[in-house]
């Protein structure tokens, strides 16, 4: 296990991110602060290798049924918790790395923690 300091805690406020490319010979990593919790993702989209972590943050639009004239029945869940790849807009849940349009697709996540003032990612050797 290798301990890598990504940033000082104040560099990534809630809603913020820091991207390091390339990351210790790997493909690059993005660390996100989502509502006060930190997550680290690989900066390569598992769909077509787009620079995933440079995408926009969104929520999820959901509907239980097609909208009727009286009730749109549209909801937006988890604003800021979903990352969309800049190339093809595939959405990923930052907290889990899960792709929201294809359950078999997942972006690699890394354990991330705070150590004093440092944001630290632990890498497998």
């Amino acid at each position: 296990m290798t301990r890598v300091v990504i940033a000082k805690v104040w560099e990534i406020p809630p809603g913020g991110r820091k991207i390091v490319v390339p990351f210790r010979g790997r493909a690059g990593i993005g660390v996100f602060n989502v509502n006060g919790r930190l997550y680290a993702l690989r900066n390569i989209c598992p769909h077509k290798r787009g620079p995933l972590c440079t995408g926009e943050l969104t929520g999820q639009i959901a509907a239980d049924a097609p909208p009727s004239a009286y009730d749109s029945d549209l909801k937006v869940n988890g604003e800021g918790e979903v990352l969309r790849c800049p190339w093809h807009q595939w959405p990923f849940e930052i907290a889990t790395g899960r792709c929201l349009v294809d359950p078999e697709v997942r972006v690699k996540t890394y354990p991330v923690r705070i150590d004093g003032n440092d944001i630290v990612v632990d890498l497998d050797d």
């Binding site: 390339p22 493909a27 077509k48 800049p86 190339w87 093809h88």
Partner: protein, 371 residues
């Protein structure tokens, strides 16, 4: 629209693709309402049309449109630091596309709505202005680029005029139209344009898009963008059927057509269906000397993007088997658009090396007569 992010280095394509790459669909101009696009037009538009452009401007048919979350239908990382719209900054295009993927050549297909203008002469002047822009700001600056001659295809006289004006310029390698025209492209009103293109041995590229004044699908107006986006294959199929059935290839045996951004999996089944009907209905089009599938085989090429992605890989291989092993397929990225296909991921690596080499570059090298 640029995201302000702390990125230390461009991550793209650290591992270069080993195969040669020719990109047959790059956009260096687009139809969106943008001051830079307007500047380009006013810089190159003929003096006598400046006043018209300022006073009236573009008027066409209603119906198209792209998702608002995807401004200019571009990859969100394709906005150049210069602030210009995606695709219009040569340095950034070099960095993000030509250099990043070590491309041999790229073919520019400007989209300017020239043929969709209800004022035919203005449409032709728009096309001319964009072609001048291509010469001055692209072809003269970057030897890896070739361009398509934009024309107002709805008026074959005006289109032919523009082809004659530029046909001897070796920077131009095809004439570009869009799929949704006013009438099917086999009809005689378009023939003068084909005749002119053939004089310079230029193929005709039919690109995704256009508004001919008809509903976006053959079944009427759809509610959703996804139906519009995926429904374009209907327009392409109508064009293939028309070009074949009207006898265009009997009249112009050397004419070559390339379907750009139209998909390709539908082509074999369309050919089968046409053959089947032709056997019963031969007397209706007695000037056709061959089965429709033979004309298709001889006269049509297709660009790969957006790549067909069946659930099972084996189905892709079966598809290529139905399509002459991919000898008519030419790789394209559609840069800077949001349905971009990356050269290092688009063509399945399970295909034979020879097939991949042909699709990625050699078919296009031959088709466009590139070195």
């Amino acid at each position: 629209m640029t995201l302000q992010l702390d990125v230390t280095e461009q991550p793209q394509s650290t591992a270069k693709t080993k195969l040669a790459v020719i990109d047959t669909d790059i956009h260096n101009y687009d139809v969106y309402d943008d001051p830079v696009f307007n500047d380009i037009i006013t810089k190159y538009l003929a003096t006598e049309w400046q006043e018209y452009h300022k006073m009236i401007g573009m008027r066409g048919h209603y119906g198209g449109g792209y998702p608002r979350a995807q401004p200019n239908a571009a990859r969100t990382d394709a906005w150049p630091p210069s602030g210009r719209p995606p695709g219009t900054d040569l340095d950034f295009m070099r960095e993000q596309l030509l250099d990043a993927f070590d491309m041999d050549y790229g073919i520019l297909n400007p989209l300017a709505g020239a043929g969709g203008q209800v004022n035919r002469e203005y449409g032709a002047q728009l096309a001319r202005a964009i072609n001048e822009y291509q010469i001055a700001e692209w072809l003269e600056l970057e030897p890896r680029l070739r361009a398509s001659i934009l024309v107002n295809y709805e008026d074959a006289d005006l289109a032919a005029e523009e082809i004659h004006r530029l046909g001897d310029n070796k920077g131009f390698v095809q004439v570009i139209l869009v799929a949704r025209t006013q009438e099917p492209l086999g009809r005689r009103k378009y023939w003068k344009m084909y005749e002119a293109a053939l004089e310079y041995d230029l193929p005709i590229g039919i690109h995704f898009g256009g508004l001919g004044g008809h509903p976006l699908t053959a079944g009427g107006w759809p509610s959703y963008y996804i139906e519009d986006h995926c429904g374009m294959a209907q327009a392409f199929q109508a064009q293939v059927a028309s070009l074949v059935c009207e006898g265009v290839f009997e009249h112009f045996p050397e004419l070559r057509i390339v379907i750009i951004e139209g998909g390709f999996a539908w082509m074999p089944s369309l050919a089968w269906r046409l053959d089947q009907s032709w056997k019963r209905l031969r007397a209706e089009t007695p000037y056709l000397k061959k089965a429709p599938s033979e004309y298709i085989q001889e006269h049509f090429w297709l660009s790969t993007q957006p790549m067909e992605e069946p659930r099972h890989q084996a189905h892709f291989e079966q598809l290529l088997e139905q399509m002459d092993g991919g000898r008519r397929l030419m790789f394209a990225t559609d840069y800077p658009h949001w349905d971009f296909d990356s050269p290092d991921r688009a063509v399945p690596t399970t295909l034979p090396l020879e097939t991949r080499r042909n699709i990625m570059a050699e078919n296009a090298r031959q088709f466009y007569k590139l070195a």
